[in-house]
């Protein structure tokens, strides 16, 4: 429950409102192994703590990477950190993406907005072990071209011969020559075999709900669709109950869930 101390090695502005912190353990501690899809509780001294998904490469645990938006007191505090500043880290917590269980399958990764950040570790792992999977399709939707996260990396993934990448934006000016429209529009034509596909989805909950429905409509089995839920997590260890929905703790039993297990939760209004 006590945080470890990490120092900021690098701060990178990704878009107007999204930034990445690269952290190293303070005092020469051991590397920080984690699974793709897990999160840490980041503590900013004097302000508070917030759950943020790990967005780095599980194959490079020496650097801890987090990407987030400055939308609340703690994340605004994270945004003010500079190289050398120290923050507290508790974790890693939670159940991650089923990267290993998905071997032998086609993989569809569907990300919306900043939802690409929690999925990026899974993408790194899939690419590092590319020959263990069938087709790899990445679908990404965001607000405008200026909001495309990790754009250079997306372009590098798209340049590969063994990955299909499709990007769409909700709206654009005439200088954008790519797709415009909601991310679910990309699903009917995406080149994967529905009978042997595992899907991993992360983004705003409304986007995940409609994406899962569209994948289901396309014929992907609902027990082969995974979502990352990020609701109300406070302690990260299943004690405070803030993220509890019935018998399920988002922090402990998730944040990655199989769609068929939490389908009902997605449409419950009072949660």
């Amino acid at each position: 429950m006590l945080p470890d101390f990490f120092s900021v090695r690098k701060v990178r502005l990704e878009t107007d409102d999204t930034f990445t912190l690269e952290l190293a353990p303070a005092g020469g501690r051991q590397p920080f192994p984690f699974s793709a899809g897990q999160f840490n509780m980041l503590y900013v001294h004097g302000i508070g703590e917030v759950p943020i998904s790990i967005s780095g490469d599980p194959g490079k645990p020496g650097t801890l990477v987090h990407t987030t938006r400055a939308v609340g007191a703690v994340t605004r505090g994270l945004r003010t950190l500079k190289k050398g500043d120290v923050l507290g880290v508790r974790g890693p917590f939670g159940v991650g993406w089923p990267v290993q269980q998905a071997e032998g399958h086609d993989i569809v990764v569907v990300a919306g907005g900043i939802g690409l950040a929690p999925l990026r570790p899974a993408i790194y792992q899939l690419l590092a072990n590319r020959d263990r999977y069938g087709k790899l399709v990445i679908l990404y939707g965001t607000r405008t071209p200026a909001d495309i996260l990790f754009r250079k990396e997306i372009e590098a993934w798209r340049a590969r011969l063994d990955v299909e990448v499709y990007v769409t934006v909700d709206r654009a000016t005439d200088s954008w020559h790519g797709n415009v429209g909601v991310v679910t529009k990309l699903i009917p034509k995406a080149p994967f075999d529905r009978t042997r596909t595992v899907a991993m989805i992360c983004g705003p909950e409304l986007m995940m709900r409609f994406t899962a429905l569209e994948l289901d409509k396309r014929g992907v089995e609902t027990d082969h669709i995974y979502l990352s839920m990020e609701r109300n997590m406070k302690c990260g260890v299943g004690l405070c109950g803030h993220c509890q929905c019935g018998a399920t703790f988002i922090c402990k039993d998730g944040p990655v869930f199989r769609y068929d297990a939490i389908k009902g939760l997605l449409s419950q209004r009072e949660i």
Binding site: G112, I114, D170, A172, T173, D174, G181, L206
Partner: protein, 153 residues
């Protein structure tokens, strides 16, 4: 002689259409091509066609003062473009511009409306199909209106 009938017959949008109805459609169909940057139609013009994209890409745009042309949707291979031809006053509501060299099957709207009036079964079949398209686009538009990727979402 090559006709467009095989292309139309294979298209998912027209799947299940009776052969006699398909033949009526073929009579209104022609191949068209637009270079990158060319307008397929402009807002306010008469909606005299609808299109089935064979390849390329078309952006549907709305011109907003001080913002310029804002693309609100794009269509690619296999998509159907245009439903303003169905409902009076038969005027396009938006601009549509090819963003890359684009080939389409164009179906003449006046020809189609006449045939639908004469054969209500054909009219009903097309209405069902276009209603589905309009429903999908309305759902997507509502989602875009919510700005789900915005800071407060």
């Amino acid at each position: 002689m090559h006709t467009l009938e095989p292309l139309l017959a294979e298209h998912p949008f027209l799947k299940g259409l009776k052969q006699e109805h398909l033949e009526l459609l073929v009579g209104c169909a022609s191949n068209v091509r637009f270079e990158a940057g060319a307008f397929v139609f402009r807002q306010g013009q008469e909606a005299n066609h609808f299109y089935i994209l064979r390849d390329g890409k078309v952006a549907v745009e709305l011109f907003a003062p001080q913002k310029g042309a804002v693309a609100i949707d794009t269509y690619g291979e296999g998509d159907v473009l245009g439903w303003s031809w169905l409902l009076p006053p038969y005027h396009w509501r938006f601009d549509a511009r090819a963003t890359e060299p684009t080939r389409m099957i164009s179906l003449d709207a006046r020809c189609m409306r006449t045939k639908c009036e004469n054969d209500h079964d054909l009219g009903y079949e097309l209405m069902k199909r276009f209603a589905r398209i309009i429903e999908q686009r309305l759902d997507a538009t509502r989602w875009q209106l919510l700005d789900v990727y915005g800071v407060r979402s």
